[in-house]
Symmetry: C2
């Protein structure tokens, strides 16, 4: 299974979000046109994205909602449960803890750490904040699959080093810095300003009269 097209991968959670709602409303089938209209992207883009899942469609009805959900979850490896620890319970960390969809991805943030005395012991969206100084003691027996780094840039490398020393190989990095990691460790860095750059690319094109769309 070859998925190297990043914009396609990035769109998958949006399809899922829509499909979960359709399932909840009792809708059995969905067409590419439906999804294209919801997302405001060309029909052909949706068709290509869904083709990545390998799910065969029905010529008349489109795709079965539950089958398409399963196919996307499988494509992303979200059919299996994954655990994570989150470091840094500031505003961004709190936003992630409040993100409802993770549950549908079988992705569970099972521990949260911070080093600030006014955060330790507090509960955010049902998660107790533990002292970062205890992280080794708490995680060494069963380290989670993914480490989520939401600390300020200055502390991010140190946190990454700790996570890696605990055997965590996959890092979702929200700090505003690129991390140095050994081979075999995979980092996905989120750059909030990346989206702003894409927005401005779209604006610049529109204002220059270029109607060729910028892909999401």
């Amino acid at each position: 299974m070859k998925i190297s097209n990043t914009p396609t991968i990035r769109r998958m959670p949006t399809y899922l979000h829509r499909l979960f709602r359709l399932r909840m409303s009792g809708q059995e089938w969905v067409s590419c046109a439906d999804l294209a209209q919801y997302m405001g992207i060309p029909h052909i883009m949706v068709r290509k994205d869904i083709a990545m899942t390998g799910l065969p469609g029905n010529r008349r009805h489109g795709f079965k909602v539950v089958d398409l959900i399963d196919a996307i979850l499988r494509l992303l490896g979200w059919d299996k449960a994954s655990s994570a620890t989150l470091i840094g319970a500031g505003s961004l960390g709190a936003a992630l803890l409040g993100f409802d969809d993770f549950q549908s991805y079988n992705f569970r943030i099972e521990s949260v750490f911070d080093s600030s005395p006014d955060k330790i012991g507090r509960v955010i969206h049902g998660h107790e904040i533990f002292d970062l100084a205890d992280i080794r003691k708490r995680l060494k027996l069963a380290p989670p699959k993914v480490g989520i780094i939401c600390v300020p840039a200055v502390g991010a490398q140190l946190v990454a080093d700790i996570l890696i020393s605990l055997g965590i190989k996959y890092i979702w990095n929200f700090s505003n810095v690129c991390l140095n990691v050994p081979p075999g460790v995979i980092v996905q860095r989120e750059v909030i300003a990346g989206g702003l750059a894409v927005l401005f690319a779209k604006i610049n094109k529109a204002e220059s009269g270029d109607t060729d769309p910028v892909e999401e």
Copy 2:
């Protein structure tokens, strides 16, 4: 100027972040190899990205840091000042208000609105939170260029409609829903889970022994 490659556009703020630091440390020149090492991506990818700016490099020294900063800012339209209003001062909104780099992009969040009585009047990262009910009164004479929507999904369409009625044509949407907007309005939707999908695509590839990199 044709920029339709979204991964390239998304990387530009990361180059900028690095280049600002180099400039601050007094470094005059930077090579593609430097930037590639910092970001952990292939050298050739950096070379192609920078080629988008049209800036000619020096065979021996690479690129002048200050010139490359200017070229990227110009490419993104960030050489000109832009203003924004942010709606929804929850944890995600607060995280955006604390994001230092916007200033370097000449991008200024000049007003913040919320409808929650316990947020109105508070100050977050130097921004006073205004009552959403007053938005028309406050913005009608000089609507900002960009509206940033950080409200929960259920209120997002209403907020978008208000912004559009005020003449705001560009929307950076952090709510977990796709917006219905009239032609001419440009929306950039941020999907936090999009990055998690990309992380898992990388993980799945690595665990299946596929060494072909997933592009950022």
